[in-house]
C-alpha cells in the first residue's frame, strides 16, 4: 500500500510542478539518429533566441506514434508541438487534436510550395507547416553509368549493354506506391479528390503495360521487395534503383552513386511523379503555451530551423530558402553530393499523397491488380475492374448506426435479475454461513481468478463487444450484429466468391487438415525411427529434429519465403540445377498454398515428434512381446499395438495442433502473404487485413475473431467428446 501512496504523492507533485516552469514546451517526434540530431540543433537555436524557454524533446517509436498521440493529447499528457505525416492530419483535425496554426504572412507563404502547404490544410484552414519531404528518387550507380539516364526508355535500352548479371533498374514494381509515379506520368490517379477509385482507364492500363513490359524484357527483376532493391543496388548488381532517402542508410560506404529526380517517360511525354509525404509540424489542441508553441513551429519550419535540419540532420526540408544558391547549377553547401537536392527536386515534381481516408485502402487492391497483370493472368482492364470492385468492397458504406437501447436494456435486466437473486440468497442465513466458511477458499483462488479475468476474460469480452461496432480507427459507432450479417452474407456477393468468409473458411479448414496430417505423419514416423533401440547418435538427431521448433516462427517463415523466390530462391535454383523449369511459387493458388504448407510442416512436426516420443515411451514393452508371442509381425505390432495406444495420447496434441494451425498467422502472412490475390489467406490473416491494412476496421475484424473463436470452441468440444468416447482415458 505504501509504495502506491508514494507514487500518488510524486504524481501530485509533478502535476503542481508542471505549470510552475511555465516556459516548457513538450515536443514529440519519431526521428532516428541523424534526423533527431538536426532537430536538436534547430531546437537549440530556438532556445538561444528565447531565453528561459525549455523545449523537451520526446522520442516516441514510429510504430506506436499515432495511437499514442490520439490517446495522450485529449488527456493532457501529450505534446504541445509534434511532427507527423500530412496523411494523418485529416484524422487529427476531425478528432480535434490539433489547432489552426494561425495567419501566415506573405513571406512565410512564399517559403513553401503551395501544394505542400495545401496538404497541411483541411477545409482551407492551415493546421501545420511543412517541415520535411519524403519521396522517391532515382539512385544511379556512377561506376556503371557516369551520366544519369534522362528517361525510362533510356534505362530500358541499357539491357544487354551492362555487364553480365547487372539489372538496368530495380524497384518494387509490384508496389502500388512506386507504380503510382508512373501512373501520374500518364496523367492518372489512384483515387480522386472525393476518395473514389480512379485507377482505371487509359493511364492505368498504360502504366500496367509499361511495368509488365519492363519485367518481361528483363529490365526489372521479378518479385522484388525493399530488401532486394537495397541488396541489388548496394552490391552493384543494378545500375539504377528507385527508392526513398531511407535506402541510403543501408548502402555500403564505398558505393559511388548519385541521386537524381525520377526519369521522364518519353511515351507519356512527362516525368514520373512520385507520391510525396509532407511532414508537418503541428500545435496540439491542448498546448499549454499556444503562443510559444506556435513560435517554435514557425521557427522549425522556417528558414533558419530548416537550414540547420538540412545541414546537420541531412533532411530534405520543405522550406525553399535553404536550397537557394547564387548559381542555379550549384548545390547548397550542406549537400556536396547533391543527393538532397535531387530528392528536393523530386519532391517538387511529386504529388502529395491524398489525405482522404480511402487512400490507405487503395494500395492493396491496386497492388493485387498489378501482381495479376505482371503474372500475365488477366488483361489490365479486367484486373483493374476487379481492383475497383475490391476497393469498393473495403470502402463500402458502414452499416447504419443503431440504437443500443434494446441490448443495453436486456443486459441491464439480466444484471438486475442477478442482483436480485444475489440479494435474496444473501438473506438466507444458511447461505451466509456457508459463504463465510468459504472465504478462505475464495481468498486462495482470488489472485488466479483476477489474473485470468484481466488477462483472458476481459480482452475476450472487449473483443466481442468491439465486434458490435463499425467504423475506422477509434471513430466507431454501434451497429448491433450488422458486422456478422455482412460477413455471413459475404457482403452481398457470391457466397463462395473471392474473399468471402466461406471461401476463406474452406481454405482454412483445408490448410488445417493438410498441415496436421503432415505434422502427425512426419512426427510419428521420426519418433518411431528415433525410438529404435539400436540407433546410434540418437541425442544429436533428436536435437537437430527439434531445432525447427526452437527457431522463432517468423525467422523460419522469412527464410522459406526467400527460398521460394522466383529468381533468387534456393528451391528454384535446385529445380534449375536438376534441369526443371523454375516455378513461380506465388503465382498460382496451388503452389503458393503448397509453399505455406511446406513451411508450416517444417515448423510443426517437431512438436508431434516430441509428443509421440513421450507416448511411445509410455507403451509397456510387454505388450509388444505379448503380441509377438501371439503371432504378430512387426507391421501388425505397429498397427495393432502402437497405433491404438498412441491414439489417446496424441489426441490432445492433435486438437492443440489443429487450433495452432487454424490460427497460424505468421506463416500465411510472411510466406505467401495471401498471394496470389488473397486466395491463400486464412481466417486469422483475413481478420488482420481488415484491422490493419483496410483502414482499421476494428469492429469488422473483431467480428471475424469472434467467429474464429466460435468455430474453434465448438469443434474442439466435439473432437474432445469423441476422444473421450474412444476410451482416451486409458
Amino acid at each position: 500500500m505504501r509504495p502506491v501512496l508514494a507514487l500518488f504523492a510524486v504524481l501530485a507533485l509533478l502535476g503542481t510542478a508542471a505549470p510552475a516552469t511555465a516556459q516548457e514546451v513538450v515536443f514529440w517526434h519519431h526521428y532516428g539518429d541523424a534526423e533527431a540530431e538536426g532537430l536538436r540543433a534547430a531546437v537549440g537555436a530556438f532556445e538561444r533566441e528565447h531565453p528561459g524557454v525549455d523545449v523537451r524533446l520526446v522520442h516516441t517509436p514510429f510504430g506506436a506514434y499515432a495511437s499514442k498521440l490520439e490517446s495522450a493529447i485529449p488527456t493532457g499528457h501529450g505534446p504541445d508541438v509534434f511532427i507527423d505525416a500530412h496523411e494523418r492530419l485529416g484524422t487529427y483535425a476531425r478528432a480535434g487534436l490539433v489547432q489552426p496554426i494561425g495567419e501566415l504572412g506573405l513571406a512565410l507563404r512564399l517559403e513553401y510550395e503551395p501544394e505542400h502547404l495545401g496538404a497541411l490544410a483541411v477545409d482551407e484552414v492551415q493546421y501545420g507547416l511543412p517541415v520535411a519531404l519524403k519521396t522517391a528518387a532515382l539512385y544511379v550507380n556512377t561506376d556503371l553509368l557516369p551520366t544519369p539516364p534522362d528517361s525510362l526508355e533510356e534505362i530500358a535500352a541499357l539491357r544487354g549493354r551492362l555487364p553480365e548479371g547487372v539489372w538496368p533498374l530495380v524497384f518494387e514494381a509490384e508496389s502500388s506506391y512506386y507504380d503510382a509515379a508512373l501512373l501520374h506520368a500518364w496523367g492518372g490517379r489512384l483515387i480522386d479528390e472525393d476518395g473514389a477509385w480512379a485507377f482505371e482507364g487509359e493511364a492505368a492500363e498504360r502504366t500496367l503495360a509499361t511495368i509488365r513490359e519492363l519485367t518481361r524484357a528483363g529490365v526489372v527483376p521479378e518479385e522484388p521487395n525493399g530488401d532486394l532493391v537495397t541488396q541489388l543496388f548496394g552490391s552493384g548488381q543494378a545500375a539504377t534503383a528507385i527508392g526513398g532517402p531511407w535506402i541510403a542508410g543501408d548502402l555500403p560506404d564505398d558505393l559511388s552513386y548519385t541521386v537524381v529526380a525520377l526519369p521522364r517517360v518519353e511515351a507519356a511525354g512527362a516525368a514520373m511523379r512520385p507520391y510525396v509525404t509532407i511532414e508537418g509540424v503541428f500545435v496540439a489542441a491542448e498546448a499549454r503555451e499556444p503562443e510559444l508553441a506556435r513560435e517554435l513551429a514557425l521557427f522549425l519550419a522556417g528558414s533558419d530551423g530548416s537550414t540547420l535540419r538540412a545541414r546537420i540532420g541531412q533532411q530534405v526540408v520543405a522550406a525553399r530558402s535553404p536550397w537557394q544558391t547564387e548559381r542555379a547549377a550549384e548545390t547548397p553547401a550542406f549537400d556536396p553530393s547533391g543527393r538532397l537536392t535531387a530528392f528536393r527536386r523530386a519532391a517538387s515534381d511529386g504529388i502529395p499523397m491524398s489525405t482522404h481516408a480511402n487512400m490507405r485502402m487503395a494500395f492493396e487492391p491496386a497492388m493485387r491488380a498489378i501482381r495479376k497483370v505482371l503474372r500475365g493472368d488477366v488483361a489490365p482492364a479486367n484486373a483493374l475492374a476487379e481492383a475497383r470492385h475490391r476497393f469498393e468492397d473495403v470502402t463500402r458504406p458502414l452499416p447504419p448506426e443503431r440504437s443500443p437501447t434494446v441490448p443495453l436494456v436486456v443486459v441491464g435486466l439480466v444484471l438486475l435479475i442477478v442482483a436480485i437473486s444475489a440479494v435474496r440468497r444473501a438473506r438466507d442465513p444458511q447461505f451466509r454461513e456457508s459463504l463465510r466458511a468459504s472465504v478462505p477458499a475464495y481468498r486462495y483462488v482470488a489472485h488466479a481468478a483476477l489474473a485470468v479475468g484481466l488477462l483472458v476474460i476481459a480482452p475476450l469480452a472487449v473483443g466481442a463487444a468491439t465486434s458490435l461496432f463499425a467504423g475506422y480507427g477509434t471513430d466507431m459507432h454501434y451497429v448491433g450484429l450488422a458486422n456478422y450479417a455482412d460477413i455471413l452474407t459475404a457482403r452481398g456477393g457470391e457466397l463462395l466468391g473471392h474473399g468471402s468468409f466461406y471461401l476463406v473458411l474452406l481454405v482454412t479448414v483445408l490448410w488445417t487438415l493438410l498441415n496436421v496430417a503432415f505434422h502427425v505423419g512426419i512426427g510419428v514416423a521420426l519418433a518411431l525411427l528415433l525410438n529404435r533401440p539400436g540407433l546410434l547418435l540418437k541425442g544429436p538427431y533428436r536435437v537437430l529434429l527439434i531445432l525447427p521448433w526452437a527457431v522463432p516462427s517468423y525467422v523460419t517463415a522469412l527464410s522459406w519465403k526467400g527460398m521460394f523466390h522466383r529468381q533468387f530462391g534456393a528451391i528454384n535454383a535446385i529445380l534449375e540445377a536438376a534441369g526443371a523449369e523454375p516455378v513461380s511459387w506465388f503465382a498460382q493458388w496451388s503452389t503458393a498454398f503448397a509453399a505455406n504448407v511446406a513451411t508450416n510442416v517444417w515448423l510443426g512436426f517437431p512438436f508431434m515428434m516430441v509428443v509421440t516420443l513421450g507416448a511411445l515411451a509410455a507403451i509397456p514393452k510387454d505388450l509388444y512381446e505379448a503380441a509377438a508371442v501371439d503371432g504378430a509381425n512387426a507391421w501388425q505390432r505397429f498397427r495393432l499395438i502402437t497405433v491404438p495406444n498412441l491414439k489417446p495420447m496424441l489426441a490432445p496434441a492433435v486438437v492443440m495442433g489443429s487450433v495452432w494451425t487454424f490460427n497460424m498467422f505468421n506463416v500465411v502472412f510472411l510466406v505467401s502473404g495471401g498471394e496470389p490475390d488473397g486466395s491463400t489467406e486464412i481466417l486469422v490473416s483475413e481478420a488482420y487485413r481488415w484491422a490493419f491494412t483496410r483502414s482499421a476496421q476494428y469492429g469488422y475484424a473483431a467480428a471475424y475473431a469472434v467467429l474464429i473463436f466460435g468455430i474453434l470452441f465448438f469443434s474442439t468440444r466435439v473432437i474432445g467428446r469423441r476422444v473421450e468416447g474412444m476410451g482416451g482415458t486409458a
Binding site: A626, A627, I641, P644
Partner: protein, 351 residues
C-alpha cells in the same frame, strides 16, 4: 515323445553370463517349474524358449522341431506375463481372440474358442469389459485365457501370481493345477516362490547363477537336495548347516555329536538338518545342544532360534510347549539318522 528340448543354452547380456549351458528335456504334458532366486536366469531362460531372446549358443527344439532361430510367432508357444500385458485398448473378448485372429482362424472358431475359454475361467460376464475395468485377479485370468485360447504346444508362465495378494494366489495356484490336468498341456512355469514350485511342479528345476543345480520331482528335490544351495533354497525355515569333523563313525562339532549314517572316508563334512527334523530329547540322550535366543510361536507351529556352537540354528518345537522355552536356555535336541544331509564343505555338493 519330448515336447521341449534345450541343449547347451548360453546367453550373455551386457557381457555378463546369464545362462551358462542349460540342458533340459520336457516331456509332453509335463508341468516344469523353474525356480531360483532373483537373477538366477530363470526368466531369461523362459524368454529364450519364447523366442524373445536369442541364445548365444545351444539349440531349442519344440515338438522335435529346431526353433532356435525362429521368431516367437513361429514357435507355437503362448506366454502369460507377470504384468499380464493385456492389450489396454481391447475388450476381454478381443484380448482372448487376438492371437487366433492373427493366425487367421475363421470367425466361428474364434467365437467358439473364446466362449470355451471364458466358460473355463469364469470370464463370461466380463467379455465386454476393458482391462482397466477389472481387478487384478480377473486380469490374471484373462491373461491365462488368452494363452489357452490359442491351444499352443507349450505354455510359458512368467511369475504369473506375483502381482496377486496371498489369498488369491493360493486360489489361482489350485486353478492352474486343475487347468493343467484338464488341458494336459506342456507348461513351463517360472517362480521364485517355493510353495508354488512345490505344489505345481511335475518336475522342479532349481536354477542358480545361470545353471541347473538340480532337476527332479519336487519331493525328491526336497528330500535329497543335490547341493547346499538347493537344500537351503527349498524349505522354510531354511535348513541348518553346521561344519563338523568326522571321527570314529561320529560327526562332531561344538554342541553337536551325531552318529554318522554311513561310513565316511573324509575328515570334514557339512551337516544339514531341517528345522522340522529335530526332536527335543532328554538330557543325556541328546545329540545337539542349542543356546536359545528367540522363540517364535505362531500357534500352529513354533520355532526356536539360537546357536549350536557358533552356527545359527533353528529348531521346530511343539507349539503347545513353546511357553516352556525361553531365551538363554539350552535346548537338548536329537535328529534321526535319516534326517541328516551331508555335504562336501569345499564343493557344497551332497555326499
Amino acid at each position: 515323445m519330448s515336447s521341449l528340448t534345450l541343449r547347451g543354452i548360453q546367453k550373455r547380456l551386457g557381457g555378463n553370463p546369464i545362462l551358462r549351458g542349460i540342458d533340459l528335456e520336457v516331456r509332453d504334458g509335463e508341468l516344469v517349474v523353474l525356480v531360483g532366486p532373483s537373477g538366477c536366469g530363470k526368466s531369461t531362460l523362459l524368454r529364450t524358449i519364447a523366442g524373445l531372446e536369442i541364445p548365444d549358443q545351444g539349440t531349442i527344439e519344440i515338438a522335435d522341431r529346431d526353433v532356435t532361430g525362429l521368431a516367437p510367432r513361429e514357435r507355437d508357444v503362448a506366454m502369460v506375463f507377470q504384468s499380464y500385458a493385456l492389450y489396454p485398448h481391447l475388450t476381454v473378448r478381443d484380448n482372448l481372440a487376438f492371437g487366433l485372429k492373427l493366425r487367421g482362424a475363421p470367425p466361428e472358431v474364434v467365437k467358439e474358442r473364446v466362449a470355451e475359454v471364458s466358460r473355463m475361467l469364469g470370464l463370461a460376464e466380463l467379455l465386454d469389459r476393458y482391462p482397466r475395468q477389472m481387478s487384478g485377479g480377473q486380469r490374471q485370468r484373462v491373461a491365462m485365457g488368452r494363452a489357452i485360447a490359442r491351444r499352443p504346444h507349450v505354455f510359458l508362465f512368467d511369475e504369473p501370481l506375483s502381482n496377486l495378494d496371498a489369498a488369491l494366489r493360493a486360489e489361482v495356484r489350485v486353478e492352474i493345477k486343475r487347468l493343467h490336468a484338464t488341458l494336459g498341456a506342456t507348461m513351463i512355469y517360472v517362480t521364485h516362490d517355493q510353495v508354488e514350485a512345490m505344489t505345481l511342479a511335475d518336475t522342479l528345476v532349481v536354477l542358480n547363477r545361470g545353471a541347473i543345480e538340480q532337476a527332479g520331482p519336487p519331493l525328491e528335490v526336497y528330500k535329497r537336495p543335490a547341493s547346499r544351495f538347493v537344500a537351503s533354497f527349498m524349505g522354510s525355515p531354511s535348513m541348518n548347516f553346521v561344519p563338523a569333523s568326522v571321527e570314529d563313525g561320529r560327526i562332531r562339532a561344538a554342541g553337536l555329536d551325531l552318529t554318522a549314517p554311513r561310513a565316511l572316508d573324509r575328515a570334514e563334512v557339512l551337516v544339514g538338518i531341517r528345522p522340522h527334523d529335530v526332536l527335543v530329547a532328554p538330557e543325556g540322550e541328546h545329540e545337539l545342544e542349542m543356546a536359545v535366543e528367540v522363540v517364535e510361536a505362531m500357534g500352529f507351529e513354533a520355532y526356536a532360534h539360537g546357536r549350536v556352537g557358533e552356527c545359527p540354528f533353528v529348531a521346530r518345537i511343539d507349539p503347545d510347549r513353546a511357553a516352556e522355552v525361553s531365551p538363554g536356555q539350552i535346548l537338548h535336541l536329537k535328529a534321526p539318522e535319516t534326517a541328516l544331509h551331508l555335504f562336501d564343505p569345499e564343493t557344497e555338493r551332497a555326499l
